[in-house]
Symmetry: C2
């Protein structure tokens, strides 16, 4: 089949972007080719706001055709956390037909080599980028994120993470040359000479198991890392967040076909209610790589049972902020208030435990007792969310009834420093919108430990009174070691304490944000510069994105011939 | 403690070597800083032949002191495959004392950073290199390798593999800068700015489980990859091959101490007879990395059970040579004869199954029937080993009674094309020296499959008659997929067949040597250029050495501060 998109066309369009990405993963400076502002879209072939909304609306109540082999029915049960039933049906796959079809195109995809694969991936990302407004609604109405967050985190930030994975994959595959001449001196005799070729070969079909809250952001790194290293990718979305990944699969198939490759290198595995297809898929012999974001229990199950695959998991952790002292009390409070509020705390990076010495802290606004810090932080959150419009724009909707149940139960765990407030969404009256609850716990009391040593995913934080900062650091260490952490935050003006918290994070392998008081938040990371998770504590066995995330998705096969 | 060896001294001595290694792992050209010829040693502080032998002899019948914490007794049961009881006792460790002591020095070792760690590792290798003659005897009298092989494979080639691992580890850890300034534009507002630091942090104690046949060659990659990435390394040698790794531990401890680090970062775990310490160690929570070379059954056990650790295994495989045609019949025969004879086939890379079309092959010496090819190859092996002195120099001794038992049993499996011959070693009359046996099997007969589809480790090869080269390629594919392979060889003058065998190897992830007729053998690989194993078929889950082998032995911890 003649390719409509040639490698030279793709190179002209994307090689510079790839080179910039390769450069910036080495410098870790700020960079993104994907605009964050909604108004940046609508020209040069990208969908504007109205077009994106219209495109999303046109998808509702219809069948999402993918033309992939082995479709044996249709399924779809997505209901927006904002209320509407999306009414979209997706193809359901007969795996015994689909999986062999996915393998069929592997040879040419492998032969295309790392550069062409990277360029094809960049074209996929570029077309996704052009539809960012459409994706924003898809992410909003599956994850419950507020529109602006769905737009940014589900759009440009997710695309950045995908591009980052492509850059790492390209760099890793091209560290070994495609060919080498080898000549070993033998004294007076002729040297021994060999001609060698090196080919990056894929492992097999990669399975992406998507999550409910960040279907694209958490999905793209694994998807693009696997595809760029030559592996077909089967996308198994969370049943409540199919659309953003179905759109992704659609775009990928379209680009692969136009570039002369088999569209079946990327396919969707939507599941029927209660089918539990992930376990079945994860242990199929064809599946050689798995990327997963979700609960610790299923992540652990995958790691223990999907023995035939490389398994990359992001599971749950308990994120801690150590509050020792600050020279910007107001900045600290507003920074933390934002972190606790964003997307109703439904981020794997949201702080949960705020460790505060029971004797209080030193600040630029004077000594503050434990109670004062908690009250001031509660007031800061209440102030931030006092206006319903702003609250709706920050909080989004609770993603599922379990989060609501945890929020309600949290109020029983201790003294409520900040009660949750119900907010009505003007456009979506069925949306469950709640402000966060903050509960006081005494870190020295054994019965409190059960609460703060477990992940309470959602808009719940615990203000844990500790005997001292030193005690807090020991609790931090124990929490990271036993429960894992995606993020750690700390506020201190003491160099000694700063060094001590840094030492804990280095020893326990946790990513640390120190003294954030401005517009960067502990729960946000930027692709190309920040690592998401460390892969070295129980919260995740991989980091987004580093060489270890890509280097084992392919193998290097050498052919040597006598020269 | 003031370091006797400063980083600047180490840098002056080794930085150029490190840079050369870093360069050559990218070009894959020939290179080695470790001389292969025994006569190259004896000056500039290195032991000459007589000194090396004397040093080895002085070790026999004594206690091997290591001054490591937690020694609760002495143990040692090594008997040379050449006959002599080595009579060496090693410290036995109380793990509850030793493991905490090994962790104690991790902080300064982490803080030293990737370059200093690499330089210290190079100093260790350099001192090992200076004692190559001593190591050669230690390897010879534990593995049964003949002296020259023990010298080269156990000395310079092993040191090369160690250095290669150090280079990969250094490259991987320095891909991320130690610090970065990050500034994100905010339109008309001030940019968001962060100062970031990135530190490579170790995972924890690494466990090296050594093997009997290549204690240094197979041990050094994991040992140095772990140490160079900041992890302490506990060395658990094979009970029959303790000495080469005990010497290694001794040198490492000496260098670490002189460089101002805790010698306990490297320690030995020798075991009492029947103690089975590997299983206990492999599941200790302190052990976070495991390198293993040995049986498939224990490798699989480690992968399934040492869930707390990164596990790198080299297990068993069934290596195949496809014989389709050749334009150098004599060269092919002599090349294969050498491969089958070297170290009595006791290499994980030795060919086992020679697939030959039952209708014969085309050669520069005319058409050769299956029977002729087998007879000519048998004659070639017999000729190569016809002289007892040369046979002893090539074969070495059988490493243990199991190998001898397999050799004897193999003669019952089919028609013997080449019987094994008993050879007396002039210096070591107790050594069990045997020439290889070659057995004819019909690939189409189901009862033959049980034989050729299992690894028969030792001097046993099967001349398998296949219906055609195409059938042979299908058998090759099935063998690699089901049993794994460390090496694949093929002889063909047909471009079509060459492409077909290459395709099988790319699809099944096996390292291929084509038409070797000279002085390079399918069972030998060269560090810096050849990959040992692919890590993509059942024979091994890792390759020596690539980025994937090192990238997950450390994690990158980021600390970000508001700028």
């Amino acid at each position: 089949m003649a390719a409509e998109l040639t490698t030279s066309q793709l190179s002209e369009k994307h090689r510079t972007t790839l080179d910039q990405a390769l450069d910036v993963i080495r410098t870790r400076a700020y960079w993104s080719p994907h605009p964050e502002h909604p108004k940046a879209y609508g020209e040069n072939g990208s969908l504007g706001a109205a077009e994106g909304l219209a495109a999303f609306q046109a998808l509702q109540g219809s069948r999402f055709a993918l033309d992939q082999p082995g479709t044996d029915g249709w399924t779809g049960t997505e209901v927006s956390p904002y209320g509407p039933d999306l009414g979209i049906e997706y193809p359901h796959a007969d795996l015994d037909v689909l999986l062999p079809a996915m393998r069929a195109g592997m040879g040419p995809w492998r032969e295309a080599g790392p550069e062409t694969r990277a360029l094809v991936c960049l074209e996929i990302l570029s077309r996704i980028s052009a539809r960012t407004h459409e994706f924003a609604h898809a992410v909003m109405h599956t994850s419950g994120q507020a529109f602006m967050m769905a737009f940014q985190a589900g759009g440009p930030h997710a695309q950045d993470r995908g591009l980052e994975a492509v850059a790492y994959a390209y760099a890793e595959q091209t560290r070994t040359p495609v060919a080498a001449e080898w000549s070993k001196p033998q004294g007076k005799r002729d040297p021994l000479s060999l001609s060698k070729s090196f080919t990056a070969v894929p492992r097999g079909i990669a399975l992406l198991i998507g999550c409910n809250t960040f279907p694209t952001w958490n999905g793209y790194p694994g998807l693009f890392a696997s595809l760029a290293t030559g592996n077909p990718v089967l996308v198994k979305p969370h049943p409540r967040a199919v659309l953003p990944l179905a759109l992704t699969v659609q775009v990928a198939r379209e680009v692969l076909g136009e570039a002369g490759f088999d569209p079946n290198l990327v396919a969707l595995a939507a599941e029927r209610p209660g089918e539990g297809i992930a376990k079945t898929l994860a242990t199929r012999p064809e599946i050689r790589i798995i990327d997963y974001t979700g609960s610790t229990s299923f992540g652990d199950w995958l790691e223990a049972n999907a023995r035939q695959a490389q398994v990359y998991t992001e599971k749950a952790g308990v994120n801690t902020v150590v509050i020792d002292s600050t020279d910007d009390y107001k900045g600290m409070l507003s920074n933390l208030a934002f972190s606790l509020s964003l997307y109703s705390g439904q981020m794997c990076t949201t702080p949960q435990n705020l460790l505060i010495p029971r004797d209080g802290i030193t600040t630029d606004a004077g000594e503050k007792s434990y109670d004062e810090v908690v009250a001031d932080l509660a007031a800061s959150v209440a102030g931030l969310l006092g206006d319903d419009a702003r609250a709706n724009a920050l909080l989004g909707a609770l993603v599922n009834p379990d989060v609501k149940a945890r929020l309600e139960a949290a109020a029983e765990l201790g003294e409520v420093a900040l009660p949750s407030r119900e907010i009505t969404h003007p456009d979506f009256p069925e949306a469950v919108v709640r402000t966060p609850v903050m509960v006081k716990l005494d870190g020295a009391k054994p019965d409190a430990e059960a609460a703060y040593m477990s992940e309470c995913f959602g808009p719940v934080s615990f203000a844990v009174a500790v005997n001292s900062t030193e005690d807090g650091l020991e609790l931090l260490r124990r929490t990271v070691r036993e429960k894992g952490a995606m993020t750690v935050g700390a506020y201190t003006t003491s160099q000694v304490t700063e060094a001590a918290v840094e030492e804990v994070c280095l020893e326990e392998s946790a990513q640390l944000s120190l003294n954030l008081t401005g517009g960067v938040y502990v729960n946000q990371t930027a692709a190309f510069s920040d690592f998401h998770g460390s892969g070295g504590n129980p919260a995740a066995n991989a980091a987004l994105c580093d060489a270890a995330f890509v280097a084992n998705r392919f193998r290097m096969v050498e052919v040597r011939r006598q020269a």
